[in-house]
Symmetry: D3
Subunit: 317 residues, 6 copies
């Protein structure tokens, strides 16, 4: 079970309110690669884990830390939605993002028009479990497959995509308070990239998995003729210039083969059998109206009297 | 632009219809890590690419190949939904999956109850862009960040998760025709895992990126004190036993530090300012009814006469 | 505004409970082409209509009738979920769908395993706004474009897809009560197909629109060279055999031209400009770490002191 | 079944077009707590109701009224999207929201940039079944559980959240026409809050339910030791200061007990059994490659010859 | 921030595997009223809270406890998906749910056909953030409005709906281990219903809010004539029989008035202005083709030469 | 299988960057009626087709062409997101859309506030599989029913809605490069409207289907009395003025009949049976607490000792 400590892991104090930035920051909270996604993924990976304890413990350590990151972002977003005190408002006129449209109107109007309306209407100056476009976080974003090699690759990827997004958001503000917090997020995402890479190597060192997912794996199941061929499915051969097109494969089991002009391996043109007339699809030839006969699912005859009783009376046809 | 060749890349011929397996196979077509996801991800990564041509070309090669995989799965699913000929139906009684409940009923009833109803009602014995539980494929599954290191990690991960799912589906059938096709899918997923790993190494060899995403990156932006610390956020220290807790970090820039008993780095308890009374949130102290005053967004006074006219007549209060 | 009359438009009385069929019937209520979709589409088309009153009135007539169809299906589903009286339960053993697995177990177990769990857990023997796979109805299914020609084509299509689904569900049961209600649904869907076709012709007779959507339309905006060419983008020329490949076009403005071996019309290979270094995408050549400079969005310099203060202390690098 | 009356329940005439406000107003139409949600919830609660007629009748009364509210909002949104007449356009320059950015550009450009693009592109100046961020309404928002106490609590809550949103939107405009309509919505939401509270009391007065949901309920099923304990799962004991931490419980059955320093009630650390090797998860110890053996689902042996035939030819390994 | 304790709050040990029940139990984990929903709602309500500390602290207490409930359910689901040892399998033949279809097939086949395929294919015998029909949890389920009265009503409702679902799931199994855990869940849901009711009363005792949401509120904004009228929008007057139709209103401010035969309050029939021709909607009268003129958004003339250059060459019209 | 040709089908070169327009253009790529929708629909219709080869071939031709349209839009969006060169930036001040708010701020600030944040944060200046409001494309948008008449109506409708959207987007820009590409899209959508109409006529000429979907169809299943009646469900009879209310029906089988004052055809008021007490719904009369008895699903008695053991100890009640 879990316990909460009142202090944030790291402080979340912007220099001033900025509701347009609050909208953007939602991406890190409720986006596909945001903190909710890594939090729920690591926790489910830990809870579902059937492997050695050290992996399970680490997953729950980091998953628990990520709850604190959701918390930090939530507090930061709420503070960015604060009503600015008067002094700040006046200063805002001199700051591009806040005072964008000071020509003939009111400085807050552009913000009014551009901010996430739900931050006010739905959440009353608070954060929500949604991304920067207002799309709700989805449980489909969490990943936990039961195979730690596959999942640690997901984790390494997610920290990479997440850190990329933090870096982009860092560029989009000059608010020192926001940047201070993001510099902490950057640090943790660097750490976690390193950590998942180390864990990938540990799985191999422990003999639990090799490079390929899944592994160990009975190779006699695989169509090995096609396990190392690089199909050039587009015009030009620029794709031949990388180490993915020739030389030894990273799994140590083969050599890349470049197929410059590949052909289909089958003569199966995907033609399908006649449609079942009882499902009213389009047949290959004209068909008489299907009138009676066995039920398409149960295979039983349709009782004649059912059809009669189903039509309550004659019509004009 | 694109051209279609009639032949399937590899044949998709099951030994016999099996609508329950057709339902399961939808996961590989329209699931989060199914063929639609890798097809759209690689194509968008290619179309959006601003890097060297060889990467862009390879992305479009593989993305184009994946359209053929969607095609193969779609044909296979349609054939698994075929109406079995009489001979097959009789045999079905002897095969566990098909003839599950032959005791007192009809062999097809359990299948009727268990199959995906949309395969008949909506698609008329055809495949759909949904997963094995009938949830539609989502554009949120496609990933294209503009940073090839982040995206190649996604690609490596996706081929790993996808191959894991193919392997599991391989175990769930004894139909040699299905297994023959899956042995081809296994081969291609092994190839693509190797290919993306080689591409990750190529990015580094080309000097475009280093281990960390994003890179190159100005490290003076990062809170470096926390870039290599491993926070033990749960009871027990099993998580200390891996190479993620001590020793050099994979990026070559530091040493892991294990914080066995970490404390928050801030004394910020996340307290927020008073709610704006005009948004009707809960205040810290009782408040008189808000009656008039500036508009919370535009900062303009609410005209007195508006409120009067808004109430068409007196009530019983 | 609206008023409700207690009686159903048509009776909704199944002969006996059938929870597996109840699950399937949800497709007609909350599926993409179910009654909720046509109800909300016709109502929004009517409410949003800026055209002649007779169209608006008809849209609201049919939209209002469709609420009654949602009602009928909801009642039918609830009744299919009723607890069968003892007599019915005994009879069930003789009916394939209900008594599927009477061999060594309880007749209701297969139903328990196959029914929609939410019908019991979430709705307590009631209907829900979801399809036959439990996916919630989406507001994206409703269509109202402001152009009645486009929307009447949607309406004709939706009644066609809907009627096809009703026909398929009719085949899947032998329950006379269900079939009686479905025979009414079939009649209304036939009527509405005729009605929308008549309305499409009326729009043209009234001179409001021609065949093409949108119309009237200034043709000097169109790349007319490509307005009647049929591109053969796959091997083989079977697609040349239809009246879509030669002869006059239905809009009366041209002749179909079959391009048996089409080529791209451009030499634009889609290459993109260099990535903005401040967004940390992959560049065309190796780049030094981006350190400072103008904010990528506002174009303002990043103040030097921000970066210093953002890093709270030195690290081990 | 239903009938439509042409007149709106209450007039929906804004003083002037305001497409940015139209975007915000979508929250009341297609948002989680908007009119579509209460309309569909009350209708489903009524149609699914198996309780006394007076509740069913009231549910259908209010559900039917709510269709009229969807209609009012739809008309209001369409009118807010009207092309403003010239006179209005000139006035716009003097009104902050409309004329935001008059400095160097065109008054409509900020509106163009900020409005919901789908209001023009998809709906042609009309409303849609989506929220203020363009996310489609979901059937998951409708609630109908079969238990009227649970559902009336949902109804009371939904009218509360909805009225809160109406109040916030009221603050965001100075348009007297909009405010006139919202003053009607406020009145109806006040009425409905009162009505659902009265209905909750009626359920108890009728002896159908008590405070607890579900009730009546066999208390011997409950772990009563934990039915009135307040677990302090965070640092500090501010949560002890409310009447939820001591004194009699609202259900009249117990006394609140505050656990200031709670401990887990179990010594179950959630460890799971070994992974099934045929699902290729991560095992607790290194495993040999799984080669053959019974199918993980059916328990049947995998035929040896299947694996051979599945590999079409030898590879380079 | 948060810390994890290894022991589960309460043990989660089923007597035996039951994958069909595991599918159903997902409703309590990832359904609309499942533990993820209350966990995220209480945490966001706490993090976003701008009211007195005691409420914020309680919200974070209970939100933190709910993470432990997600954990318990996740572990329980994983264990229900365990491969049963041989002894259990043999016993299964005697237990209806497991051995449903022993007649002519394999006892596990019905389970294979009926279980959630993703539990094996996607999660490898583990839980996921989805409901019992496989639909992903949505961020739209979390509720945090900034108004504690509205939110505590949501909380009371959610615990009611959730407890109803626990009770129904309790009925659906005879497994003593599952029931033992559910008896704990029942206890906590009873506690939380009491707690939120006490908190609602505390808000009123503290003078922060009254019955109505939002409150305090300036009543001169409300159309008071319609604040206590009960509109009978359907045939029959059974809805007049409850205390919601006459007598004092729960808010103490009025008397219910029953309108047995209500009429629209407006003569606004919702007619809209002419469609903007540049958006190609359907007009009220036939229109000439729109050829040029001001851009519909910016109001600027469309340059004549643009249109010419946009058509690369003449066509066959 | 598929092959890619490097050249775009038609060039996609805007005159200058315009990130706000890029946001709008996403509707054509990932919206409900965008290119992804027609691409996947035509491909699935082709792959699932069980009818004559010429239809299948045409479907795959057009489906393959549509992949090229997704490609063109993706490239166009990426280019609209390009960083404008300095010269362009200076010019921007004179162009309304770009330089909207030049009064007191920076010309890019309004764009910053109004653009799709994910175009930078998530995609790094690239396109995504989402609509103009950032909502991900859904697999539910693809349509393939197995009945070509129903599907060709869908195709005709989709090209109509799509072309309407292209026309509206054409109006919203003065960029000649964008308009040049859209003039090609307009041409192809005109072609495809003609082509699907020709294909609808071909299906009838081939004797495969008649006007009605589905057809051929056994009319003795239909409640023919209601197959041609026009129900006037709203006040007023403006809906009587169209050819849908009298005269011969388009299917040639009947005459429209206008029911000016229709009544329900049933006296079924939708009343449901008593709720099953074990599902804890609201009953018609007060009920004693349900204590024991058969399991609601399996019909088996709940063992007495289970309930005892489920309560670990006595409580304070």
């Amino acid at each position: 079970m879990f316990f909460h400590v009142k202090e944030l892991q790291f402080e979340a104090k912007p220099d001033r309110p900025d509701p347009v930035y609050a909208k953007r920051l939602q991406e890190l909270l409720g986006g596909k690669f945001g903190e909710m996604t890594v939090m729920m993924s690591y926790l489910f990976q830990g809870w579902n884990s059937r492997g050695p304890e050290k992996y399970r413990d680490m997953l729950l350590d980091i998953g628990t830390e990520e709850i604190a990151h959701v918390e930090m972002l939530s507090v930061m977003i709420s503070r960015l939605l604060d009503k600015a005190p008067v002094k700040e408002q006046e200063d805002a006129a001199k700051i591009p993002v806040i005072g964008a449209a000071l020509g003939g109107g009111n400085p807050s109007d552009v913000i009014f028009a551009s901010m996430n309306p739900q931050h006010e209407i739905v959440n009353g100056q608070g954060a929500d479990a949604k991304d920067s476009m207002g799309v709700p976080w989805s449980g489909a974003f969490a990943t936990a497959s039961g195979n730690l090699m596959a999942d640690f690759r997901w984790n390494l990827m997610a920290e990479s995509q997440g850190n990329l997004q933090v870096s982009r958001l860092y560029e989009m503000t000059e608010d020192q308070g926001i940047r201070k917090m993001l510099s902490f997020n950057l640090a943790r995402d660097i750490m976690h990239q390193n950590q998942w890479q180390a864990a990938i190597e540990e799985l191999q060192a422990d003999g639990l998995h090799q490079f390929q997912v899944p592994s160990p794996f009975p190779f006699d199941r695989v169509n090995l003729e096609q396990a190392y061929t690089c199909w050039n499915c587009s015009t030009g051969t620029a794709s031949q210039e990388g180490q993915w097109a020739s030389g030894p494969t990273p799994d140590g089991n083969g050599e890349f083969v470049y197929l410059a002009d590949p052909k289909p391996l089958s003569n199966d043109i995907g033609e399908l059998d006649q449609a079942d007339p009882r499902l009213h699809g389009t047949p290959k030839q004209p068909m008489p109206p299907m009138s009676s006969g066995p039920n398409p699912i149960s295979g039983q005859d349709i009782p004649k009297n059912v059809k009669k009783s189903a039509v309550t009376s004659g019509g004009q046809m």
